[in-house]
Symmetry: C2
Subunit: 206 residues, 2 copies
């Protein structure tokens, strides 16, 4: 599908050389989540940890100006990742979480942030007032681009849950209204959310 | 606000020379509406009409590839217009109609086309099931850009109406669910819609 390959590998000959990966976000919560995923769920250790012979990665947060495009979740992710690689001039990782309502055939999807901002947790519930079906999908899309001009590779995780009146701390987006197996994301600790949430990437996306 | 000036003027010395304006759309209905507005509501006549001494304009439809950005109605319009002028290499006019729900603090706004496509007329009504207030604003934004690198000038019209169950022919977007003074847009003929609708530009937008 793509000629680019992630620069972090498990090749032991490269283990001593930390790779710098630019994580594109202006959001500290996102950076913490991605760090939690990368360094607990993979074989990679954080740059500077010389106690092991594992591949090291320096995760560097970068904000890239410019607007996201309108389109499908995948189109938005590819465009953002390609633009970021061009601006940074090196390998970049982007992450976007969308929220799809089954009753809306996938919307608000990539536009969920605007709806959350405009109508809040109660408003998200109100959107589904006319529907019995409160099913929602949390969709987490990571895109990796090796550098300017390279094709992004997408990895996507989807978690099926449902929209409920807000429960739990309200400091992270729509977490309080998305319920998965009896708990809202806001009621889970970070480790549990990473274990159960869509960030648990299950398959490369086409 | 801007150094650019529309190239069509009422200066009689230029009356004999038709100006070509690229109207950016892939939508035949939009072209017909804009033609109806331009050549009935202004002093300008369609290029090739030598019977009068009025300024002549050749309105040429062009489709410009690329995605619209996410953002406010105004940001989306400016970006689209600037990109189009860069691609076409000359003066361009863009037109976008958004639909704002008061209960959603302005959304779906520029994303209305995705919601219409995903949930249809009934779904747009369902979005407001939880709200007494069915108020909506049809927002029509024309952007003109004189050429590559020039600042777009925006003209915006807003019509306050309300969302109702669909009435009238359903061949043009959300027209059947937007009611203004007792009639949906779909129940009006083109002339009436132009006279009453948001395309009747009332003020330049900041």
């Amino acid at each position: 599908m793509s000629s680019s390959t992630p620069t972090t590998t498990t090749d032991s000959s490269k283990a001593a050389r930390p790779t710098t990966l630019n994580f594109i976000t202006g959001n500290a919560n996102k950076l913490a989540e991605v760090r939690a995923i990368l360094f607990t769920e993979t074989n990679v250790v954080e740059g500077g940890d010389n106690s092991s012979n594992k591949p090291q990665l320096v995760l560097q947060s970068r904000d890239v100006p410019g607007h996201e495009i309108q389109g499908s979740i995948e189109e938005v992710a590819r465009d953002k990742c390609s633009r970021a690689a061009a601006v940074v001039g090196g390998p970049v990782l982007t992450e976007d979480t969308a929220l799809e309502f089954a009753a809306y055939n996938g919307l608000p999807g990539p536009y969920i942030k605007y709806f959350l901002q405009a109508v809040g947790h109660e408003g998200l519930n109100n959107m589904l007032a006319a529907y019995e079906d409160k099913t929602a999908f949390a969709v987490c899309t990571f895109a990796y681009c090796g550098g300017p001009g390279q094709d992004p590779i997408l990895f996507q995780g989807r978690t099926q849950g449902r929209i409920v009146p807000a429960r739990g701390p309200s400091n992270f987006g729509w977490d309080p209204v998305f319920e998965y197996e009896g708990k809202t994301y806001a009621e889970m600790d970070k480790a549990e959310k990473v274990r159960l949430g869509p960030q648990k990437i299950i398959r490369p996306s086409a």
